[in-house]
Every structure is written in structure tokens, then in C-alpha cells.
Amino acid sequence: MGLSRLEFLAPGAVQTFKGWRLALCLASGLLLLPAAVYWLVQTQETRRLEAQLAQLQPARPVRAPLSASQQRERDLELKQVAAAVRQLNLPVTRLVRTVQPPRDVRVALLGLDLNAQQGQDGASVLKIAAEAETPQDMLNYLAFLNQQPMFSSVYLLKHEMNANAPEHAYRFQLEAQWRQ
């Protein structure tokens, strides 16, 4: 806290900035002048470089908004492309190897349908047509497929006895849900 002072002279600006105070202010200003000039030059250089950088940036193409019909066509195309990609990416070799019955299960594979619709949970569906000599072989094959880790669930769609065949073989269809 300052001490009591009763000064009749108002400390005017003229009195404050006279003599050595004025000299000190001028000297300080002169000292700061090169820094100010340097700062201005740097600022201008930074702005120039930023402008160059902005010019060098690739211009983003502006696409016109599609009409409703065009948008529907585009969506359809996208779906078809997605389906084709999915087909191309099917692990066919792995699936065929997995559905091969072991030697002790006497089942003949008649057909594989990989184009079945996907299940509700997003799993793909594989339909298998096969023929077995006995119902026991059919059930063994069903149990074998259920044990494969690639399939999440396998169930019998239909089965029939081929009366025209000499040994009355069983034909049956299975549906297996699989995941990659």
C-alpha cells in the first residue's frame, strides 16, 4: 500500500513523458521496431504461402444432386454390384471341402445351391441335395454337418425314397446356414 501523498500538481501526460522517460519510451520503441518489421514480413509470407497452398489443393468436383428416379436406379445398381461382389467372394472351395462326407458315411452329393437367400441374422444359406443308401446314413451326414464349425445350423428340408432306383435310395435336401 502506498503512503499518503497530497500532490497539488496533476500528473499530466506532458509531464510524465518528458526527459528521461520520453527518451526511454523512444529507445524502447526503436528496439521493438525491428521485431515489428520482422513480424509483419513473416505474416505476409505466411499469408502468401497459405494462398499458394490453397491454389494447389485439388478442386473437389461438385456433383449435381440426382433426381428421385436416378437415385433409385443408382441404388439398384449398387445392390446388383454388391450381390456380384458377394458371389465373387464366396468361399466355394472351402464349402465344398466342408460338405464332403467322411468315408464311413455313405452319402453321394447331388447338388449345391449357393444362391439361396440370406437368413434373417445375415448368415448365408447353402442348400445341399444328396442321396444315401439308408436313413441312418442320411442322419449321420446331418449330424456330421452340424458338427462343422463353419455351419451355424443344419436342418433337413425334405427326404424321399427313390422307388425307381434298384436299392430304393433316400434322396434328401438339407439347408445349412454358414458364416465366413
Binding site: M1, G2, L3, S4, L6, E7, F8, L9, Q15
Partner: protein, 262 residues
Amino acid sequence: MSLIERVTRATLCLHLAPHGLHGALRRAGRPLPDSAFHLPIHNPDASWEVALASLRGWLEQDGGEKLPLAVSLASRWCAMLMVPWSSALLDRISAQRFLHSQFAAVYGDGARAWHLTADEAPYGKPRLACGIDAALLQGVQDAAAAHGRRCLSIEPIVGPAWRSIAAAKPAAFALVEAGRLLLATTGGGRITALHSQSCGAVWGDELDRAWLRWNLRASQLDAIEHVALLDLSGMPQEELPARFQPLPVAGAAHLMREAAWA
């Protein structure tokens, strides 16, 4: 001569009193040896016009370097008052109006012609204010300007007197000049209360009585055991009450320790 003494100019400290002009040179806050002088003034009425004329005459005769001046004025020409806090003090123009109303209430309408100033006390605290005849202030400034001198400060002697002893933190001090005595209490570096009255040549008893009378009006003075005493009267008293403890003072101009830095 040290570097700081080379780069700082000396200040001529003057104390203008009714019966004398005291002066001393200071550089870097210290008095220069053998620079003190005293010019007696024959002034039976103790009017400031005569004293001011003596100051003009001395400045005219002084053919030395035109050093800046720091002037202190005798308490006789300075009316002191503790003014209550007001928000009007925050603005310079409204502060002058407020101070004039306060001084007019105590000293009459004559105070309208005075130049007033107040201490920069903290917000909300009462302030010490002082008024002098505006013509006296203008006269001192004109006298300095007429002889090519710059005025660094013009203030009542109580200011330099307090600042010269403030480091010792006395609870109260007394300042005795020829024909005038002044009592003040202090706190937080500031003068918190003040009493001023005229006195005669034998001022020892009057000082004690003034203290006792002031004590009756302001009961907080009871707790103060010692009062620092600055004697500028030139009439030392032999037996003073133990309450008053004299401090050595070479002269009024020597009290202006801070003037060199103003």
C-alpha cells in the same frame, strides 16, 4: 560519483514557510552535502504573498543550474480535512466539486477559491484532503516557469514529513512548525486522522494539551503510547511530556526524500 548520480539530475527541494525559505539539493534521493540553505523572510503577518515574493526574488538571484523544483508549503497555508468516502471521488472533476462542498461546510465559502487535493486512499476509506489558495499554487508555478524551472511537485509539508518517518511505522506523529502544530494518527501507511491548530513560541505545553483535547474527541487515541515528534519550529522545547519522542530533523527541505524521484 556513481553511475546513478551521473545519469540522474539533482532536484532542488524548497520549503516555503511564512518566516523562511529552506532549501536543499537532492540527487538520487540523498541530500547533497553543504547544499542546504535558509533564507529568512520578514513577514509579521505570515502572509503567503510576502513569502512568494521572497521565493521569486531568490529564484531570480540564483544563477546556478536550472534544476527542477520540489516545493513543500507550510501548514499555515494548508487547510486539512478528513473527507468521508464518496463515489464522486472516482472522477477528477466531480471529486473537485465534492471536495469544495466538504471544505465549504467547514471553512466557509472562502474555500470555493481554494485548490483542493486528496490522498489516494483505498476504495471506501475516508481520505485526507488539503486545500490552498489557488493563487498561491499558481504563483509558485508561475515563479518556477518564469525562471525556466520545472515543478516536480507541490505539496503540504505534512506529506514529506509523514513519508520521512513512515518506515518506523509510528501510530501517531506530531509536526511542529513556527506558529503551527499538527497531530496525526496513521495506519496502513496512511494518515487516518488529523488535528491542526496554531501555537505560540512555547509550544511544548500546547502540544500536550492539544493531544489531550483531541483525545477527548477521539477515544481511539487512548491506545497510543508514543507520538513521534518532528520539530521544524526552530524553537526547541526543553521539557516535553514523555509521550512525545523527538526525531532528528536537519530541516524542512531535508524531509522531501522522495521528491528526487517524482
